[in-house]
Amino acid sequence: MNVLEVKNVSKRFGNLVAVRDVSLTVKKGELRAVIGPNGAGKTTFFNLISGFFPPSAGTVIFEDMDVTDLSAQKRVVLGMARTFQITEIFPELSVYENVRIGAESAAGFRLRPWLSAVEKSEIRNLVDETLALCGLTDKAGRLVGELAHGHQRATEIAMALTLRPRLLLLDEPTSGMGDQETYEITQLVRRLHRDSNFTIVLIEHDMRVVFHLADFITVLDQGALLAEGTPKEIEANPAVQAAYLGKAA
């Protein structure tokens, strides 16, 4: 079954065409990487999928439902969660509180004046499980704003996971991180994909990470689709090499 079908989307900002006629199909359980040189339109493309802004043309279909005109918030409710290149968290709250807000929202408790004891323990269990999955159990009581960058990113991923998303969108999950942090986040994404069977689309510039993780790779260049295939095919593709090494070819 296809979780995500993007059909011929384009996005114009005035005269600039940031994304030009790109299509993409992601199957259930797949891990897809979107790569490309700086300014290739990767993040814009992500924003079109997650509903940050609407496309100028084309359609976005999520689990056989046309979501092109739905707001970002409605897409989240349908089961699409995302993280951002610049971590978006609640800095003055603890890790536990950050993740709990996601869990309560996903459980449909966001307007509730109180929770029953059973509901409270359900939320607590979900939060504890998610924290354990993301390796944050010993950080639960710390303020997120005081944590290292890698743990902040892990918290953001944990928040997205509490939504039990059927499509997880990760925008450069290892950006700005050192080797050790990059390794930890890569391992986390791998666990989510292999063990928990999440369908994931991620943008990444670190090629080690991409070739290590991805089932399929989509390459964008100057807003357009340049190539698509398995890591091996992409590695051997002359057009991709040219795009990354310069316009000589």
Binding site: A72, F90, I101, W114
Partner: protein, 318 residues
Amino acid sequence: MIKGRTSRLLVLAAIWAALIAAPYWMPLFGGYTALGSRVLVLALGAMSVNFLLGFTGTLSFGHAAWFGLGAYGAGFCLKWFALSSPLGLLAGTLLGGIAGTLLGALLVRRRGVYFAMVTIAFGQVFYYIAFQWSSVTGGDDGLRGFSRQPLHLGFTTIDLLNNADAFYYFVLVCFAAAVGLMGFILRSPFGRTMIAIRENERRARFLGIPVELHIWIAFSLSCFFMAFAGALYAELNNFADPRVLHYALSGDFVIMAVMGGMRTFWGPLLGAIVFVVLQDYLSSVTVNWMSFIGILIVLIVLFFPRGILGLIRQRSAA
């Protein structure tokens, strides 16, 4: 953890003990009971503003509108409809709260300065209505000819009008109920979404929270609390005039919240105490009392941006 909880309970107990005993210790410092009632009413207003400012991150600069509508609502009720202090409070709360809820729907898409500007505009609309519509509101002279009524409890009757202490405790009970409800809301799942919106609106949206709806609800709740405070204010003074709707008063509430510490629950109470007591004392010494309060605000904002209570918290944490 346990230490934190114990010290929090101790602070709470100290706050309520001080408020309950106020009529007995205030005279020792040159205070009087009616001043205590005034502090409580304005503190409730400041806490209502802070419910929105400190916990949803949305600055309303026109909250006096709902405070003033609450005051006029209570006045109208006591003057024309029912001679009952609680019904007056109810009428004021409903008038201000419902008006705030309806108009709030128009501003939830505005943010920051634009939100503040539109709230000022709404406030001034009501100010000029009250100012011009003399036949109903009494115009510039204010709404007169009503007074708070004795409270009938079945087994006994409490004279709220002539017994200042009795009225203080009536206000304190109202204050406690409103503040308790506020604290309860802030600790609920809904309250946590308010804090989420304050902390990071984009993240809140991408957790599936419809941000506009939640801001609207928080705004409406804040308006009801504000109108309740305004209704108490009318019964405190047995009078309402257009100044209770003016944006200068909105500014006073914001100042109390910022001075006391807007990220804290009790900060605005502290801010209101400092503001009202200083105003009472300084205005008997000089007509330029506002400039002294102004200097104090500048100093606090410059040196203790988290307010007086924020400073105390920092000290005790260090």
